[in-house]
């Protein structure tokens, strides 16, 4: 009898509001410790929270984009526990009545589509940060992050393996970045997740005992942590022991999960409705306005690219899957016509460069203006595709203007047929033995002649013209 894995994810998405969930404190990342903290964030005696409506609007966008129920009346609860970076001794969250109810999202693993149901998505405030390794024998507390709005998205336990978990996380990241409600920056902790893993015999009706792995913030670690945890639990069960319900931490250095606290040691959070905050009511008008302003999502973009720009569906999918890539595509298409060529370059050379450096297109030196010009210079035959590659590399390095690169490096394509013919004739004249061999049937030598012409012209010859001229001259000679 084989083992079956059941996984559920809780993803914390930091919402990109200017101010915090319950105060006017700034949410910008990277400031000096404890400089973005106001009276409310500090939890001083006598202060009161006021809910940030902007955070609600962002949460609702997520709900609408995942076909979820929106609770037009939602409430806040307190989750009580002590920790130095939790200034009030409780976190304000939405337990009983979250802003977003049941929804779903489509994922794709190895070409197979699957729907993962989302249980709920609720708003809550983030805690500050405890810094343990900076001060000898003491812990530092930085409250800049305290009170930052989080949307916690809870999936149903419907994820079957690590690959699906990663695909689900990526799908959520894609949607929140497209909706412009989160910057999706995982290195800065804008998205983190807790993973619940359990295994059971395939024919067992009941779920197995689960372990929760806390606070993972990269695709790679999600996959590794889950696989480690599945192996660990199966080993325990096959030895005839039972898995303990507990919270575990993933150690990326040792690639293992280890126990943080068991169920018995778990906090009793003593949830109860927060008496400082009235229920937040979203009017029908407000909801309709948000709905009408919802941006186009990847699926819709993909369909439109095929229809409007005549792209292959595979190319359309790749471009539409990333917000920054889609922006680059649409930006370039607005300036020049050859949308298929634009798509080819995005999916081909540009994606290769991005993958090599592991960056996003908006982190590169390429702008949609420069990219459009590059495409135009290929279309109008000023440069060849091959030269265009070196121009792209130059842009990648320096960000310089396409026309300036072409001019300063003298890369303009040689179109002059008589000049090309002269050069080609010289190449033929200088290589009589190769000409003989070619005529004797060694067709592959055609490439040799092309190469020689290109060498003579420093690659600036129009390849198509060179082919035609050489074919003609070789058959005449």
């Amino acid at each position: 009898m084989s083992w079956e894995t059941v996984i559920g994810l809780e993803i914390h998405v930091q919402l990109s509001t200017d101010s915090k969930l319950f105060s006017g404190g700034s949410t910008s990342f990277g400031a000096e410790p404890n400089t973005h903290v106001d009276l409310i964030d500090l939890g001083l005696p006598g202060v009161l929270p006021v809910a940030n409506r902007g955070a609600f609007h962002k949460a609702i966008r997520f709900g609408l984009a995942t076909n979820a129920e929106i609770n037009q009346t939602s409430t806040f609860d307190r989750k009580n526990y002590f920790y130095p970076d939790l200034p009030k001794g409780y976190q304000i969250t939405q337990m009983a009545l979250p802003i977003v109810g049941k929804g779903s999202i489509k994922i794709e693993v190895e070409g197979q589509e699957k729907i993962i149901n989302i249980t709920r998505a609720h708003l809550e405030e983030d805690a500050g940060k405890s810094i343990h390794d900076l001060f000898d024998g003491e812990t530092g507390v930085d409250l800049n992050r305290a009170g930052t709005p989080l949307l916690e998205i809870v999936s149903e336990p419907e994820i079957a393996n690590a690959k699906e978990a990663v695909a689900y996380f990526k799908a959520i990241r894609q949607i929140v970045t497209f909706l412009d409600i989160c910057d999706g920056n995982m290195a800065q902790g804008s998205m983190r997740c807790d993973v619940n893993v359990s295994v059971k015999k395939s024919d067992a009706a009941e779920l197995g005992t689960r372990a929760e792995i806390k606070n993972i913030n990269s695709f790679k670690f999600i996959e590794k942590a889950i696989n480690f945890e599945i192996d660990r639990q199966i080993r325990i069960l096959e030895a005839g022991d039972s898995v303990i319900q507990e919270t575990r931490l993933y150690d990326s250095v040792k690639n293992e999960t280890r126990s943080m606290r068991s169920k018995e040691e778990a906090n009793d959070y003593r949830y109860f409705p927060c008496p400082d905050l009235l229920p937040v009511v979203i009017s029908d008008e407000e909801l309709i306005k948000i709905k009408n302003n919802l941006p186009e999502l990847p699926d819709e973009k993909e369909k439109r690219y095929v229809k409007e720009f005549d792209l292959d569906s595979s190319e359309a999918k790749i471009i539409a899957s990333s917000k920054t890539m889609a922006n680059m595509f649409e930006g370039a298409c607005a300036k020049t016509d050859d949308s298929k060529l634009i798509a080819n370059w995005l999916v081909g050379d540009i994606s290769a460069l991005l993958n090599k450096e592991n960056i996003d297109i908006d982190e590169s030196n390429l702008t949609s203006e420069n990219f459009a010009t590059l495409i135009e210079r290929i279309s109008d035959k000023t440069i060849s595709g091959k030269i265009a590659k070196s121009v792209l590399e130059e842009i990648w390095e320096t960000g310089n203007d396409v026309d300036k690169i072409i001019e300063s490096k003298g890369l303009v394509q040689i179109q002059d047929e008589s000049l090309l013919e002269t050069i080609a004739q010289t190449v033929i004249d200088n290589n009589p033995s190769q000409v003989d061999a070619f005529k004797g049937g060694k067709d592959k030598l055609f490439g040799f002649f092309v190469g020689q012409v290109m060498k003579e012209t420093q690659g600036k010859a129009n390849p198509q013209s060179v082919n035609e001229i050489l074919k003609r001259l070789l058959s005449e000679s």
Binding site: G46, R270, Y271, F272
Partner: protein, 483 residues
């Protein structure tokens, strides 16, 4: 000219007529505070700043409605740059960087905050005996408690040291000490007064209000204390009337409800007698009495002692020794930091309520206690709603008796909790309620409670003022009848 026992209205006239300067008034006030230091009604004095403000008012007359009126602020309100202890060792070193909205409102109207008054620790108590800063003495008798938790405020007004004080009322903390000290005190509708800057005890019940010698002075103070405040989402965005406007209107035809379920026969004969006399007096003023039923009101005390401790257990979590207030010496680890700081910083009553509150919110007990209590609370509110369809105000004694001796109930929490039997329901229902002096028992004052409908403070003040212009209970002072 003596200023002791003068009302706000009288002091305003004296200042207007230049019978006294602002500076003289403040100097006299501090003299009275010092002469009455045995009462222990103040924790922190604000003398230098007060004199500066008075001097400024002497040179630059202000149009503020309470310009130059000395006021004592309960030490539960945050006051910028002035120590705010909430009666606790935990906050013995806490100097807030901001002021409560109530404080700002009163000071903007020209009030001079002369000091911070003693109180039960974190407002938990009915005798002022839980204060870390020692008992407050009731001016009416050496060993008598002033009531609580706003005991320092009540004692300071009763002794005639200040004409006005701020108080807060979670289950009776304005009205019960007002009753025991022979002054007037009003708890407004929940949401009338901003809670911003009030150190929270039980957020859904806490409400600030005025304590003064007369209902008329309470109206003057309430006019300034109320405001809609965006910083407090539970504050009410409603028109704030001039609470003095209807004070002198006749109460002919006023319908007063008497609660069937309050079994007054269990009270001392003296208390019943005082209450009956007040009824007769109201009848003589043209009011009519109607018996009403509030079937769930007998569940008020147990309901309160689930809801209030639950909220308190969470509200007081921030006092952990990490960011402000007291921190224990040399903790060996984080857990010990919490345990020692909170063991040393909190007194027994506060600890008792944190324990009760943590218990009723814990997994497995939440439904049986907290959830049930909230349901009962809703029923109590519904009872009041239907009662107010047939009456204008509801009347009862404020307390079960007059001031008691210090130490006589402090070992018996249940007896102490029953002190608030009559006052708690108004907090649970969020309704305005006030206490005015209506008699004496063994030379100790006692109060009459009037409960009003939602946002109907004006009618309470009108009923109270009508009573006071035709009786003299509010004029009695510990040193004899006021001339």
């Amino acid at each position: 000219m003596s200023i002791q026992y003068k009302s706000i209205k009288e002091l305003k006239n004296m200042l207007n007529d230049k019978d006294i300067s602002h500076t003289e008034l403040v100097q006299e006030t501090f003299l009275n505070i010092k002469n009455n230091s045995a009462l222990n009604s103040f924790i922190t004095l604000n003398e230098e700043e007060s004199l500066k403000k008075a001097d400024n008012l002497d040179n630059n007359p202000s149009s503020g409605s309470l310009a130059g009126i000395p006021i004592a602020q309960k030490d539960l309100f945050c006051t910028k740059d002035l120590k705010t202890t909430c009666g606790s060792n935990m906050l013995s070193n806490f100097i807030p960087p901001y002021s409560a909205t109530v404080i700002e409102n009163l000071e903007n109207a020209g009030c001079i905050s002369v000091g911070k008054t003693n109180m039960d620790e974190f407002a938990m108590g009915s005798s002022n005996e839980t204060s870390f800063y020692g008992n407050v003495q009731n001016p009416w008798g050496e060993n008598l408690v002033p009531g609580g938790s706003s005991g320092g405020s009540a004692a300071a007004v009763a002794a005639g040291i200040v004409p006005a004080a701020s108080g807060t009322d979670t289950g009776g903390s304005i009205r019960q000490p007002a009753s025991l000290c022979g002054i007037s005190g009003l708890k407004p509708t929940y949401g009338r007064v901003s809670r911003w800057g009030m150190i929270a005890f039980a957020s859904s019940l806490d409400q600030a209000g005025p304590m003064a010698r007369t209902a008329e002075d309470c109206a003057l103070l309430l006019n300034e204390m109320c405001s809609y405040d965006e910083k407090d989402t539970t504050s009410i965005d409603e028109v704030i009337p001039d609470f003095t406007e209807n004070l002198n209107s006749s109460i002919q035809g006023l319908k007063i409800g008497l609660v069937k379920e309050f079994d007054l026969s269990k009270l001392d004969n003296d208390v019943v007698h005082v209450f009956e006399e007040s009824k007769k007096h109201y009848e003589s003023l043209g009011a009519e009495f109607i018996e009403i039923s509030l079937p769930n009101i007998t569940l008020s005390v147990p309901t309160y002692y689930v809801v209030a401790p639950a909220e308190c257990s969470s509200n007081l979590s921030r006092f952990d020794g990490v960011k402000f207030g007291k921190r224990c010496d040399n903790p060996k680890d984080l857990e010990e930091l919490y345990i020692k700081t909170r063991s040393e910083g909190f007194g027994d009553e506060v600890k008792r309520r944190i324990l009760i509150g943590s218990y009723v919110l814990s997994a497995g007990f939440y439904d049986a206690y907290y959830k049930k209590a909230q349901q009962v609370r809703r029923l109590i509110k519904n009872d009041f709603d239907s009662a107010f369809k047939s009456v204008d105000i509801i009347m009862s004694p404020t307390t079960r008796g007059a001031a008691f001796e210090a130490g006589s109930k402090s070992d018996d929490p249940i007896q102490m909790y029953l002190e608030d039997l009559f006052t708690i329901p108004a907090n649970l229902a969020g309704l305005p309620a006030m206490s005015i002096p209506n008699g004496m028992i063994d030379n100790k004052p006692i109060g009459l409670q009037l409960v009003g409908n939602f946002l109907d403070e004006s009618r309470l003040l009108q009923a109270a003022h009508n009573f006071q212009i035709s009786t003299d209970w509010h004029l009695k002072t510990p040193s004899g009848n006021k001339s």
